[in-house]
């Protein structure tokens, strides 16, 4: 997703910013730092003079300043795509504020788009700001699982111990176990390696 957007951003016509949230870094993932990360991604090619001047003044920019800079940047850019992965791993208390600010950003450029992923429980919070949020449930598709298992088998560090029949057995066994459960890629790899 990000790569696709980046390819197009380089061709022109859109700008893209992204962030991966992580439960382990909640303390650093403040609203201020997230907004700052979006801003720096959008201006990195050509830093606006206003930001340069603020930097030279020295103090860390408060959220209000970052938002002002971000809105100014968004207004000058073509269509902006903001992607935030694992939104549910932000601090829950920060989420309403973050979404409110994302809403403010989109108001500046209404064709801009925000791509979010996360567990389903945050959907209500998102819809408070974006009433027509498009929700797409993601479940592992059998073909995706097959491709993933095949990729892992190809990378096996003991290829001499592998043959077609073992390969087929591993694939069949994993698909059977996966058939009615949503399991992550990491358990998949553990099932094979252990």
């Amino acid at each position: 997703m990000i790569d696709r957007l980046c390819d197009q951003a380089r061709e022109g016509g859109l700008a893209v910013a992204w962030l991966y949230c992580d439960y382990n870094f909640q303390q650093e993932q403040t609203v201020t730092n997230i907004i700052g990360a979006i801003l720096k991604r959008l201006v990195r090619g050509e830093i606006p003079e206003g930001i340069r001047e603020a930097f030279q003044e020295g103090r860390r920019p408060p959220l209000e300043d970052l938002m002002r800079m971000l809105k100014t940047a968004v207004a000058t850019l073509p269509r902006v795509f903001i992607c935030i992965d694992a939104l549910d791993e932000c601090l829950p208390k920060d989420l309403p504020k973050l979404l409110e600010l994302l809403r403010d950003i989109v108001q500046v450029s209404p064709r801009s788009r925000i791509f979010l992923t996360g567990r389903s429980h945050v959907v209500g919070t998102i819809q408070k700001q974006f009433i027509k949020t498009v929700v797409i449930p993601i479940t592992p598709k059998e073909d995706d699982i097959k491709d993933y298992v095949a990729m892992r088998l190809d990378r096996d560090d003991m290829p001499e111990a592998m043959d077609d029949s073992l390969r087929a057995e591993i694939m069949g066994s994993i698909l059977e176990k996966m058939s009615n459960v949503c399991v992550s890629a990491s358990p998949l790899s553990k099932m094979y390696t252990h």
Partner: protein
């Protein structure tokens, strides 16, 4: 006066003619170079969070066409079309951890 060159580990997708089938490719590495020492410092000053490092590690662990179906859905097209304005600005892919949300691949062109 010589300027210091600052680099960050960032990789972008393979922007070749065959890109609709090679979004997950990580053969091409483009290095982002800041123009000056000051530019690099400004980036750190704006936020300590770095999206590039995580993205890089995801790319090197990527495979196949996860999520090819997504861009074919009417929901995706409507969202991407942008006609719904700010109210419809968000596409939310929901699911439990590990179902592949982070690895979604798109073959769509963003309009």
């Amino acid at each position: 006066m010589a300027q210091t060159t600052h680099t960050q580990s960032i990789t972008f997708g393979n922007n070749n003619a065959n890109c609709s089938t090679t979004i997950g490719s990580y053969n091409t590495t483009t290095t982002t170079i800041y123009n000056s020492d000051e530019d690099a410092k400004i980036m750190g000053w704006l936020s300590p969070l770095e999206s590039d490092n995580r993205h890089h590690s995801l790319r090197t662990d990527r495979f196949g066409g996860v999520g090819d179906w997504l861009s074919g859905t009417s929901e995706f097209r409507e969202w991407n079309g942008g006609e719904g304005g700010a109210d419809q600005a968000v596409l939310f892919c929901s699911g439990d951890p590990g179902v592949g949300k982070t690895h979604l691949r798109l073959v769509a062109r963003f309009s």
